[in-house]
Amino acid sequence: MLANYLPVLIFLLVAGGFGGLLIVLGFVLGPRKPDSEKLSPYECGFEAFEDSRIKFDVRYYLVAILFILFDLEIAFLFPWAVSLHAIGRPGILSMVVFLTILLVGFIYEWKKGALEWD
């Protein structure tokens, strides 16, 4: 049973080995003449203003989560729509239930003000 996974193992070894080989080759063969201009971070031609690791507003996080939620909903709706002729009435009913649950969640976040920026 485990022998079935041998091709996967070989594939992993080849992929890892090839990737590693290219990096090592570039490291060994490539010319390296670093100076301060080359090593400084590039920011549209300006001097770098500040550290790139800054605190940002937690509201972006909320928006990102809401986006994932509705993105997944769409990802779920497409295969459902394509196979609608095969799944019949139970399929429609299931989707209605699913969308109703999502709708309740949507109303909840709207009412709680999650969609307002200020």
Partner: protein, 481 residues
């Protein structure tokens, strides 16, 4: 087409308790949105009504084993018992938490809605006939729990413990899912009854299966909080608001028992030879570490957290015998423990007031003078959990030890008894503080009338189920035929 619709309807009828619970929880969430803080009691009442309605539907579901949704959903005596116990436990948790939440300005609909969603997760786990259904239930329960721990947003310690719980819990879920995927890779099925059919004695020689089993076991042990996967328990129990700790410490234990029973006993039953050894290590370590570390705790919530770990060890001890009697003993132990955990945490809620959490053992000093009745109730919970006759905890421990001796694990029984003696020390220390020390403060004992009645019933139940334990034993035996 009609054939499909009828079977769909049949499936929905079987899962009516879950369907109702989901629908009613959504209604609670919706209603809570549109009422003012002054009418928040409505959310509370609706949540209790939801549980009552669920119990009525649970009783109405036909007895015997029924399978729905193409094997994804199973209802039988075991699922029914777990669900009824869960509904009762959650209702008790609601009653216990109301005053605490009101006094601290935490009386929000989200507490009840999240707890109801967690209940739904437990229901799904109890009725899982498929590894995927099981995982769905676990995640629904776990996500609700993470949010509940962080429920008191202004408390930094609650936020910290929620963060720890979330990160560790997510890793554990990943480990469990990885194990499930390996088992699927080897056997080609997620269905638990199909797994039981396809696996035979040869399963123990298949490296892939053993590999998958080890990961599943790590996930289960984390959920239970068995050593060495117990690190989250003390921090989460300590950091969460007491009503949330009360919730976490009680109902989910039933769910995790259902998880181990459905997956290990029903699905991977023929691999018992492999998981017995793993459970043995987990159980002995849990009993040892839990009992010994609890001795040095001064915070009652932390002490009860370590007590949970040692009790989980006992549940696993009963389970690892892999005999029908052992499963029954473990389930009986779980139910008894849940009852006593509810009461112990409710006592902390009873003594606490705004700005004072009463979660140190010193806060219980001289309780016998301030309120003799509730000092006795706390004595019932402490001595009951320690396993002193004639309380319920004694018989639960007795059955587990009997199950162990029956299959020849006498040395495990000896280890369990020895560490129980160590454990008795810290339970009795609370009793000593209550009865022999002078009171540290003499504020009157608060608590609403319904709270006190429920707590008294809870305490008397611990005594009554020890004196007359036949009904509970028969109930468990009927569920696990």
């Amino acid at each position: 087409m009609t054939a499909v619709s009828t079977s769909y309807l049949h499936d929905l009828t079987l899962s009516l308790p879950e369907v109702f619970l989901l629908g009613a929880t959504l209604v609670v969430l919706f209603v809570d949105l549109f009422i003012s803080q002054a009418h928040r009691q409505l959310t509370y009442l609706l949540s209790l009504l939801t549980l009552v309605g669920t119990v009525v539907l649970l009783v109405a579901v036909p007895e015997g084993r029924h399978v729905g949704f193409a094997g994804m959903y199973v209802t039988d005596g075991f699922a029914r018992l777990i669900k009824l116990m869960t509904a009762g436990t959650v209702a008790a948790a609601f009653l216990y938490s109301r005053d605490y939440l009101i006094k601290r300005g935490l009386f929000k609909g989200e507490y009840f809605v999240l707890a109801l969603f967690a209940t739904l997760g437990i229901f799904v786990m109890a009725s899982a006939g498929n590894l995927l259904t099981m995982y769905l239930g676990i995640e629904l329960l776990a996500l609700s729990q993470y949010a509940l721990v962080a429920f008191d947003r202004d408390s930094p310690i609650a936020a910290e413990s929620a963060m720890k719980y979330f990160v560790l819990g997510a890793i554990a879920s990943g480990v469990l899912l990885y194990g499930i995927s390996i088992i699927y890779g080897v056997t080609g099925t997620f269905d638990l009854s199909m797994l039981a059919q396809r696996l035979d004695a040869h399963a123990l020689t298949q490296v892939g299966l053993l590999f998958g089993l080890a990961f599943v076991m790590a996930g289960v042990a984390f959920k239970f909080g068995a050593v060495p996967f117990h690190m989250w328990i003390p921090d989460v129990y300590h950091g969460a608001p007491t009503p949330v700790t009360l919730f976490l410490g009680a109902a989910p234990k039933l769910a995790y028992f259902a998880l181990s029973f459905r997956v290990l006993a029903e699905g991977l039953g023929s691999m018992a030879g492999a998981w017995q050894g793993m459970l043995m290590v987990l159980a002995v370590l849990s009993i040892a570490v839990g009992n010994v570390v609890a001795v040095s705790q001064t915070n009652l919530k932390r002490m009860l957290a370590y007590s949970t770990i040692s009790n989980v060890g006992f549940i696993l001890l009963g389970f690892l015998t892999a005999t029908p009697f052992g499963y029954r003993a473990a389930l009986l132990y779980t139910i008894t423990y849940v009852l006593m955990a509810l009461g112990s945490f409710a006592m902390i809620i009873l003594l606490s007031r705004k700005g004072f959490e009463a979660d140190r053992i010193d806060d219980f000093k001289g309780l016998a003078q301030r309120s003799p009745w509730f000092a006795w109730m706390m004595l019932f919970f402490m001595v009951g959990t320690a396993g002193v006759p004639p309380f319920a905890g004694f018989f639960a421990k007795l059955y587990v030890i009997q199950a162990l001796v029956e299959v020849g694990f006498t040395w495990l029984a000896v280890v369990a008894v020895l560490f129980s003696v160590v454990g008795a020390f810290y339970y009795l220390r609370v009793v000593k503080a209550m009865f022999f020390d002078a009171p540290a403060d003499d504020a009157p004992i608060g608590g609403a009338f319904s709270f006190k009645v429920l707590l008294s019933l809870n305490g008397l139940a611990v005594l009554a189920l020890g004196l007359f334990n036949t009904p509970l034993v028969e109930l468990v035996a009927k569920a696990l035929r």
